[in-house]
């Protein structure tokens, strides 16, 4: 597998007038095509900061991030925007759907950034909506008329409408109940099985179980790395391995 994203000596420091907070400290990480990487760690360990730095949403203070062979850490804001548009998809804890637009438009607003073929985008959006289990009925509904799980699935479709190389997810089920969480995780797993590279931040062991590579972050440094095989439902050995790993990391 080819390395799609490579972070080297990554540092991120937040500073205000008197205090400097080093969130990421010389962090090194490689993500390969088709990976489902889960980044775990305690609150404040720098998980989200790492995710946003890797995705080009935020710039590291020091270090390099390479997308294949392309250095992106020194890109301008607009160039980063174009990079995100072309190569990344995002799913957040809050779905951030625009409540003045219906479901289809919420997806198309992202799709039209990359392609001008409205019909093709609309058709693809409908196909992806069906793929994540949303019927034709929801196309013209507004976000506030949907359940939390449905909203998040719409957000996932919005994230993958441009066929991103990497899908970044930051606590994608944090605001959902258990049934909806399960639905969303199934969607992500299916996507990964179809070849989608996913980088997900979570502190929920149920979510982590879905990944094939677990990175444990502590005080801005990756302190542990666990390789798991492809996800199989009710795989107890996988669950035990993950639990043992996390215990070892002091979870």
């Amino acid at each position: 597998m080819k390395t799609i994203l490579k972070a080297k000596d990554l540092c991120k420091t937040f500073s205000n007038e008197s205090v400097q907070q080093h969130v990421l400290k010389n962090l090194n990480l490689e993500i390969e095509e088709g990976d489902f990487v889960v980044i775990m760690g305690n609150s404040g360990s720098g998980k989200s900061t790492l995710l946003y730095a890797l995705s080009g949403m935020d710039r590291p203070t020091l270090g390099s991030i390479k997308y294949f062979d392309e250095e992106i850490s020194d890109y301008s804001n607009d160039k980063l925007a174009v990079f995100r548009r072309n190569h990344c998809g995002f799913v957040f804890q809050q779905n951030f759907l625009n409540d003045t637009m219906n479901v289809l438009d919420n997806i198309m607003v992202s799709g039209l950034l990359k392609s001008k073929d409205r019909k093709a985008i609309a058709a693809k959006a409908k196909q992806l909506l069906a793929q994540v289990g949303l019927s034709e009925e929801v196309y013209h509904k507004f976000p506030t008329q949907l359940s939390g799980g449905e909203q998040q699935r719409v957000a996932i479709v919005r994230a993958i409408i441009n066929t991103p190389d990497i899908l970044f997810a930051d606590e994608p089920t944090g605001a959902l109940n258990s049934q909806n969480t399960e639905n969303v995780l199934n969607v992500l797993t299916e996507l990964n099985k179809a070849g989608q590279t996913i980088v997900m931040v979570t502190h929920d062991i149920r979510l982590a179980r879905r990944g094939n590579k677990i990175k444990y972050l502590q005080d801005g440094v990756i302190t542990g790395d666990l390789q798991l095989g492809d996800y199989v439902s009710k795989d107890k050995a996988r669950h035990d391995a993950l639990r043992a790993f996390l215990q070892e990391m002091g979870w």
Partner: protein
């Protein structure tokens, strides 16, 4: 009360820029209202003060000396006359004058003896002492309009004789303050120089100055006494240089331009206040939506909806008080500047002092309307339930329609998203549309006034009803000269006029009017006919619309004109309109004039050229050809009146433009700023998914620009129909019934482009705030 103040103070801290914009708008509105109101209320007072100071006359008559002895008897015998005085004056219809080596100008002058110790209408001047033979006092109007300064050299050319004077000071006489009322300058010189100027060319005349018993109506007196004088003293009725004015008419006519200008400013200030009220509405709505949780917290901790509404009202009260006080302060500080403008319109030194009455009225009015609107638009937010508020919750979207579906639209993405925003906030955008339409309309009306009444005065002169040929002659024995001039190849036509003051009656109603007898009425250029036809026979007359209304007559009715030949009947064959003589007058032909006065010798002659020569060339040509009679530069003379109008129109146009730019600036600034704050999370998300700052800026601009442009276009296009109606409204008091004030398409275009460019530039500037939005911060903030 302190609780409300405490919340209001904290709210204001949170929305400093909103508070600043609103304070700025209220300051501007209050300042304009204060200035216009204090001039409208105080202008008349100022004239009264001068009138009282100089024992001012309530009525006066100027007429030649010969054959007017009976006027003394008529006036002395009148029961309403308290004091009467007769003064000498010299009337020179054409004086060439030059101030301090500047350009030579022509105008009519009356010369007065400064050494005459008048009791009525005393000389009112800042000059102390006695004038030497080389000194002169000019009307204050020449200071503000011609820029004359004390010490300047004034060269007067009277019938070929040159007199050089030193300007010693200025005089202020409300009757002769500006050419708006009497088109001549009244100047004072020493007795010796006065005697020297008394040549046959300078016509010696009397000025009868009358003070009336207290409470007498000067307009009625004028009518009554003129009727008697015209009947009994033919020398007055037929003289081509007799005139009389009463105090009430003079005062209102002199203040007319200032009053109209200030009236327009007042209306504009009200529009500005209306704009402020709309912005207050937006501001409250934005603030509530952004601080819904805080409102919920306050409600949860026991604040009643009344208290919350009260806090909004307290907030707006503070803003209005601060803006109002600053506005009144600025209005007072700019008093000198405003005073100069008013002085240039009315011709006496005008000082805008502190006017507590106007200040109080304006402040109270502003506070009342602001509080009412605040109460009205904060009620829904005061009533929101605690739980809804804590859930950040008024549901703003009604799920009726997904405007402009991205699936089907063919618009570019930024435009489509911008238009979605426009359609999602229909009510707000209707408000903005209304504001911009009003501004655009006022701007076009301003341009229309400038175009029709300042830039090109021909239409104004048509409304006034005065002829402006290339040259004119005034005096006796003009007919022979006219016959010769008519033969000249460069002359297209010559108009002959004889004026007479007549008593016109219909039934029991009667009016004293100036009747214009034209030798060739069909050639008169500036006669604005409303209906009917021109007088063809000696018993036909055209009356002005206002006179018809006053007499209660219409086409086909008989009216009676009384002059030296007694009472003659005339059939009303036409109705015209003019501003001249306050819209009252009659028009007959020379045969009709002969019936009235027994003769029809021309008193005025207007020469129109074929266009081969410019009017200055025509003047030189005529003066060279007929050196014994000097041609009058009528264009230059009319500038003294049209100059005032032009100045007022230019000022108004300027005020409209500046205020439009300011309001568009403030509205766009506030809207875009509010949008960027309110939608920062959306912007964060859009950035995260790959929108560039430029795309988001365009999207934001497009969410306002279409409304702005539409408003500008609607306003500009509607001015095509409404501008004339507005002008008509302003001129209706002068009996003007038809008035076309077309706005040239390029002025409409300038207005649209100006509003669009200002809106675009400000929207662009404000939307650049999006640059600072970092997606990570927006998406992770609570």
């Amino acid at each position: 009360m302190y609780r409300l103040y405490f919340i209001a103070k904290n709210n204001l801290k949170k929305k400093k820029s909103d508070a600043l914009v609103l304070t700025g708008l209220i300051t501007l509105a209050v300042m304009m209202m204060y200035i216009s109101l204090s001039v409208l209320l105080g202008g008349g007072r100022m004239f009264e003060e001068i009138h009282e100071k100089i024992n001012g006359m309530d009525w006066h008559l100027v007429a030649q000396k010969d054959g007017t002895e009976q006027v003394d008897e008529i006036l002395s015998a009148h029961e309403d006359v308290e004091q009467m005085e007769k003064s000498d004056l010299l009337y020179v219809p054409l004086v060439k004058y030059r101030v301090d080596g500047g350009e030579e100008k022509d105008y009519s002058f009356i010369f007065r003896n400064s050494d005459a110790e008048d009791e009525v209408n005393k000389l009112n001047t800042d000059f102390k002492g006695t004038l030497s033979d080389e000194q002169i006092l000019l009307p204050y109007y020449m200071h503000v309009s011609d820029g004359c300064e004390i010490g300047d050299e004034i060269v007067l050319d009277i019938s070929g004789e040159t007199y050089v004077f030193e300007l010693a000071g200025f005089s202020e006489d409300p009757f002769y303050s500006s050419p708006m009322m009497v088109s001549m300058y009244q100047v004072f010189i020493s007795e010796e120089t006065y005697e020297k100027i008394s040549t046959p060319e300078a016509m010696s005349a009397y000025m009868w100055k009358v003070c009336l018993q207290e409470g007498c109506d000067t307009v009625s007196f004028n009518k009554e006494v003129l009727d008697e004088i015209n009947r009994d003293v033919p020398a007055v009725a037929q003289s081509y240089f007799s005139w009389s004015y009463d105090w009430a008419t003079t005062k209102s006519a002199t203040m007319m331009m200032a009053d109209v200008s200030m009236g327009i400013m007042l209306v504009f200030a009200m529009i500005l206040l209306a704009v402020t009220l709309v912005i207050i509405r937006f501001s409250i709505a934005n603030f509530c939506e952004l601080n819904m949780k805080n409102i919920g917290m306050l409600r949860a901790s026991g604040y009643t909806s009344r208290q919350l509404i009260g806090s909004f009202m307290m907030e707006m009260l503070l803003i209005t008080l601060v803006g109002g006080v600053i506005g009144i302060g600025l209005g007072t500080v700019s008093g000198d500047f405003v005073g100069e403008i008013i002085s240039s319109l009315v011709g006496v030194s005008y000082q805008v002092g502190v006017d507590f009455f106007s200040a109080g009225c304006v402040l109270l009015f502003s506070i009342a309307v602001v509080l009412f609107i605040t109460w009205n638009c904060s009620r829904p937010y005061g009533k929101i339930s605690v739980l809804d508020a804590l859930r950040e919750g008024i549901v703003t979207h009604n799920f009726r329609k997904n405007h402009i579906s991205l699936e089907t639209t063919c618009q570019p993405l930024s435009l489509a998203l911008g238009m979605k925003s426009v359609l999602c906030a229909k009510r707000k955008n209707f408000g903005i549309l209304g504001i911009v339409t009003m501004l655009s309309l006022s701007c076009c009306i301003g341009f229309g006034m400038y175009q029709n009444f300042a830039k090109d005065i021909s239409y104004l002169m048509r409304l006034v009803g005065s002829e402006i040929g290339d040259a004119a002659y005034v005096g006796d024995d003009l007919d022979e000269l006219g016959a010769e001039i008519e033969q000249l190849p460069v002359v297209e036509k010559v108009l002959y006029l004889k004026k007479s003051n007549v008593m016109i009656s219909a039934g029991e109603k009667e009016e004293n009017v100036s009747c214009f007898g034209w030798k060739n009425p069909e050639k008169v250029q500036n006669n604005f006919m409303l209906e009917g036809c021109l007088p063809e026979y000696d018993n036909e007359i055209v009356l002005s619309k206002l006179l018809c209304d006053k007499l209660g007559v219409t086409l086909g009715d008989i009216v009676y004109l009384e002059e030296i030949q007694g009472k003659k009947d005339f059939v009303v064959v036409g109705i015209n309109q003019h501003i001249r003589d306050m819209g009252i007058g009659g028009m007959i032909n020379y045969e009709g004039m002969s019936r009235l006065t027994g003769e029809s010798k021309s008193q005025q002659m207007h020469i129109y050229g074929t266009g081969e020569l410019t009017y200055t060339e025509m003047l030189d040509y005529l003066n060279e050809k007929f050196p014994e009679r000097e041609a009058i530069d009528i264009v230059e003379m009319s500038k003294s009146i049209t100059g005032i109008v032009a100045l007022a129109m230019e000022l108004m146009c300027g005020v409209f433009l500046v205020v439009t730019v300011i309001v568009v600036f403030l509205v766009v600034y506030l809207l875009i700023k509010a949008k960027v704050i309110r939608e920062r999370k959306n912007y964060g998300l859009y950035k995260a998914i790959g929108f560039t700052t430029r795309q988001l800026c365009m999207q934001t601009i497009m969410s306002n620009l279409p409304v702005m442009v539409t408003g500008a276009v609607i306003g500009a296009v509607s001015s095509h129909w409404l501008a004339s109606k507005v002008a008509l409204l302003g001129l209706s008091t002068c009996g003007i019934e038809k008035c076309e004030m077309p706005v040239a398409p390029h002025y409409m275009l300038i207005t649209i482009v100006m509003i669009t460019v200002v809106a675009f530039v400000i929207a662009l500037g404000c939307s650049l705030r999006i640059r600072k939005i970092e997606p990570v911060k927006m998406l992770t903030e609570e």
